[in-house]
């Protein structure tokens, strides 16, 4: 761009110099034809073409400027203003000078011509003619005398006389001719002048008509001469009609004066004739000079304005770039002037802004990296982490917190706890548990909270810490949440198992001797007793034996509960297993309404059929027992495949129409000896829970709403990583 601009500038300067030179040459050619005479028209055409080139250049500049103006390119308006100003400032004085120059020129040319000068020239010419006429008349008379003398001389004698006659007459050349123009004899003062100057046919014709000829002639290489041609009188001589021509030189001085007068007269007449053309030519040159000056100025104005406006345009563009966030913009510094200083300052400013932006970007990147690092660390934690700001809005959380609380916290970031609690009851329970600590001034706190989510009732251990506030941020809270449900349940199960094992051991030992002793008593004394005592003795001993058997069964149940047999998993169709168990209870009560709704898309799961059968058996038995005391006997048994927290489950629901479960025992329903029934060991649900947990599943008991009764929900995980059934029907567990 810069190179092309320089090229245009150099071309313009060359064109300017050439046009200026040609205008000077044209002016010289017009004033003095000896200079550039032959180039005049070429120069005129060249200048006209040069002006056309300048017009084209200006038009192109104007078009470009208008386009820039329409496109609202910065600097266009400024350039137009500067071009207009330069043009006005330069064109106005040039036009004034042109007007007065034109006037002076025309007046000056008119002043060249004066009537008195013209009259003087005419008079000079007349004077010269008169002077020469006198001389010519004298020479005519002298030539006539020679003609008279020659009339008596024959042609043959003429050569002997003619030289003498020429010398006497003072003629330069004397020639005797016939009237037809044939030369008879000639004499010249120049011996090398061999061919005499022959009179023209017109002169001969004039002589043939009897007239003499006297005229001022210009002879080649001889200047002005007086030519006199007269007829030679003939007096009956043998010779034909003859004529004599004499060429008399004009004296050097008269020759010079006459030529001077003639040249001046010719020059004046020429100028007088060319007067209007001269005016037109000078006007053309002056107009060319005017147009040349104006167009050059306008073009130079465009060039200068563009150069002056360029830094401002660049600054405007740079400012726009900076406004759009491009801080790498650097503008070429135009020079060492104030504008250059301004541009340099702008460059320095953008450089510093760019550096600051880089620093900010780096800081942001580092912050984001730290945030990612923190999120990664939090993501790997087995505890849930929740960070609240001073307004109790959720700022940070980890995936584990979502899983524990059972709500999608990601969708509620920056929302307050109140807003989230309105949507999720489990979070409301969580909020209620920790709210008092958040409001207190205590920096560190711990609280165990029980909430119920989609997985059932869970126990959370929450630890809270108050974050220190910064200069622009008030304090917040970090809450670490641990799901200790399994831990507590495990501890409780372990305690119950230990107690059951010891109880079984302590009870089982005395039972066998009791049973044996009772049987010995019957064997020894029953037959020897009186009839009325026999019945009593038999009844009492049978009662002891039956109760001992019952206690043995109870002890076996305790043993089963406390033991942890190795589980043998098989690919099991839950629907088939359910149908088998339901069939056992189908005809148990004719009033029972059993609704079975088993899904068709239940996948096979790895399970121990026998133990699962015990689970369903216990649950159905409980349901039948619950309905026995009610008017409406309705059971709904359903199975489905659900996905929760990216885990696929087979869900079995057994819903009864009984009295439901009261809130006071809801938490301990799966504990041993937690029962509302008058009979039974109280281990049924505890064993159910134990078996389900052995299958990595979960079991819940919830009251139906709004209808009466309770619902047992069993969820068994579908593990995709189990191999298909092996040949013997068992499955091998892969390492997870």
């Amino acid at each position: 761009m810069r190179k092309s601009g320089q090229l245009i500038f150099i071309t313009g300067v060359i064109l300017f110099i050439l046009m200026l030179s040609s205008l000077i040459m044209m002016s010289n050619a017009l004033q003095d034809s000896s200079h550039f005479r032959d180039l005049y028209l070429g120069l005129l055409i060249f200048n006209t073409l040069g002006l056309l080139v300048l017009i084209v250049l200006i038009a192109l500049n104007l078009k470009r400027l208008i386009k820039q103006l329409r496109n609202r390119i910065p600097g266009a308006r400024m350039t137009i203003r500067m071009v207009s100003m330069f043009t006005m400032l330069s064109v106005t004085p040039v036009l004034v000078v042109y007007y007065f120059s034109l006037d002076f020129l025309i007046r000056g040319i008119d002043n060249w011509f004066d009537l008195r000068v013209e009259q003087a020239l005419n008079d000079s010419l007349d004077l010269s003619r008169q002077s020469l006429d006198i001389r010519m008349r004298d020479l005519l008379r002298r030539t006539r005398q020679m003609a008279d003398e020659l009339s008596d001389i024959t042609d043959a004698a003429i050569p002997f006389e003619i030289d003498d006659m020429r010398t006497k007459s003072g003629a330069k050349e004397l020639t005797l001719l016939t009237r037809q123009g044939t030369i008879i004899s000639s004499s010249a003062d120049d011996p090398f002048h061999l061919v005499p100057d022959r009179p023209s046919e017109t002169i001969l014709l004039q002589l043939q008509q009897g007239n003499n000829y006297t005229a001022l002639d210009t002879i080649r290489n001889g200047g002005l001469h007086i030519r006199v041609v007269v007829n030679i009188p003939s007096f009956g001589m043998e010779s034909g009609a003859r004529i004599i021509q004499a060429l008399y030189p004009v004296s050097e001085r008269i020759n010079q004066l006459a030529e001077s007068v003639q040249d001046s007269f010719i020059k004046y007449k020429e100028l007088s004739y060319l007067r209007e053309q001269l005016k037109k030519s000078f006007v053309i040159i002056l107009t060319l000079v005017l147009l040349f000056s104006i167009f050059s100025t306008v073009w130079a104005a465009f060039y200068t304005a563009r150069r002056l406006a360029e830094p401002v345009t660049n600054l405007a563009r740079g400012t726009e770039d900076v406004a759009q966030g491009n801080y790498t913009t650097q503008i070429p510094v135009p020079g060492n002037d104030e504008l250059g200083f301004l541009v340099a300052s702008f460059n320095e400013m953008t450089r510093k802004i760019a550096q600051a932006q880089d620093a900010a970007s780096r800081s942001q990147y580092e912050a984001e990296t730290q945030q990612s690092y923190l999120e990664a660390v939090l993501g790997t934690l087995s505890s849930g982490v929740l960070v609240l700001d001073q307004d109790k809005r959720v700022r940070t959380y980890n995936r584990c917190a979502e899983l524990i609380l059972g709500i999608p916290i990601a969708a509620h970031t920056d929302q307050s706890m109140e807003e989230i609690a309105k949507k999720y009851p489990s979070f409301n329970q969580f909020k209620a548990g920790i709210e008092s600590h958040l409001s207190s001034t205590q920096n560190n706190w711990r609280e165990q909270i029980a909430i119920t989510n989609s997985s059932g009732r869970i126990i959370l251990m929450c630890s809270g810490t108050t974050l220190p506030g910064t200069h622009n941020m008030q304090h917040g809270h970090v809450i670490v949440i641990d799901d200790i449900t399994a831990l507590i349940q495990g501890q409780r199960n372990a305690a119950w198992s230990e107690m059951a094992r010891r109880l079984a051991h302590e009870i089982k030992n005395p039972l066998t001797p009791i049973q044996l002793a009772t049987e010995r008593l019957r064997h020894k004394y029953l037959q020897g007793m009186r009839a009325d005592d026999t019945d009593t003795f038999d009844r009492l001993t049978n009662t002891i034996i039956q109760q001992v058997e019952t206690m043995k069964d109870m002890v076996n149940s305790f043993t089963d509960f406390s033991s942890t047999p190795e589980i043998n998993l098989q690919m099991t169709d839950i629907n088939e297993l359910l149908k088998e168990v339901i069939d056992l209870y189908a005809n148990l009560n004719s009033n029972a309404e059993i609704i079975i709704s088993l899904s068709g898309n239940i996948p096979l799961i790895a399970a121990n059929k026998g133990r699962l059968r015990q689970v369903f058996n216990n649950l159905l038995k409980n349901a039948f027992d619950a309905c026995d005391r009610c008017k409406v006997f309705r059971l709904e048994i359903s199975s489905d495949c659900i996905i929760e927290n990216d885990q696929k489950y087979v869900e079995i629901k057994i819903k009864d129409s009984g009295m439901g479960i009261t809130e006071d025992i809801m938490d301990s329903m799966f504990d041993p000896y937690a029962t509302t029934k008058t009979k039974g060991s109280g281990l049924g649900l505890a064993i159910v829970k134990k078996i389900v947990e052995e299958h990595k599943g979960l079991v819940m008991l919830v009251n139906n709403s709004p209808s009466a009764g309770a619902c047992a929900i069993v969820r068994l995980p579908v593990n995709e990583l189990y191999d298909q059934k092996s040949e013997n029907g068992s499955v091998n567990r892969k390492a997870i």
């Binding site: 017009l30 020469l132 017109t202 020429e270």
Partner: protein, 198 residues
Amino acid sequence: MHVCKKHNDITTGRGFIHTYVLVLIFLFTHSSIAGTNSIKIESADGVIIEDMYSVNANISYQLGKENRNALEHGIPLEFDIEFRIKKRRPWMWDQTLISRTITYRLEHQPLSGDYLVTRLDNGDLKQFQKLEDVLVYIGKIKNFPLIDTATLGTGGIFYAQVKTHLNIEALPAPLRPLAYISSEWRLSSPWQIWMIKE
């Protein structure tokens, strides 16, 4: 009644058009008469003189009022008579074997009132009292040698051409722009061509 109608015709648009056309015709014919400036080559042929192919030409010069006026006011007029002999070539432009020019310079001498004719190529000077005599003089070209006949002896088609014109570039500079655009000053004859050898 008939006279009245004729009178009305002139004043009406139709009559005006008639008058306008008549005026135009008059001006055209008048200008044609007034501007009888022309140059015509009446005849041109060659003749062999002493093994030289020479040219004889008869040219008719008719100067217009403006040309005569300029001459009377001391403006010299130059007439160039160009002679060329060319050889025809197939597939190419014709070859110019020779090109010669005779230039006559016409001047008016106010002292004697005569016209001076100078042949610039050899310096011959002639003086005439009448301009018509001058024009007759420069219109007669006699035995102007052009080329050795030996050159023409080779095979091929040869032809000669002659043309004459007023040299505008010889006019004073102020007059030249006008001369280029004015028909008064564009005096030129077309090329007159004759075959030398076919």
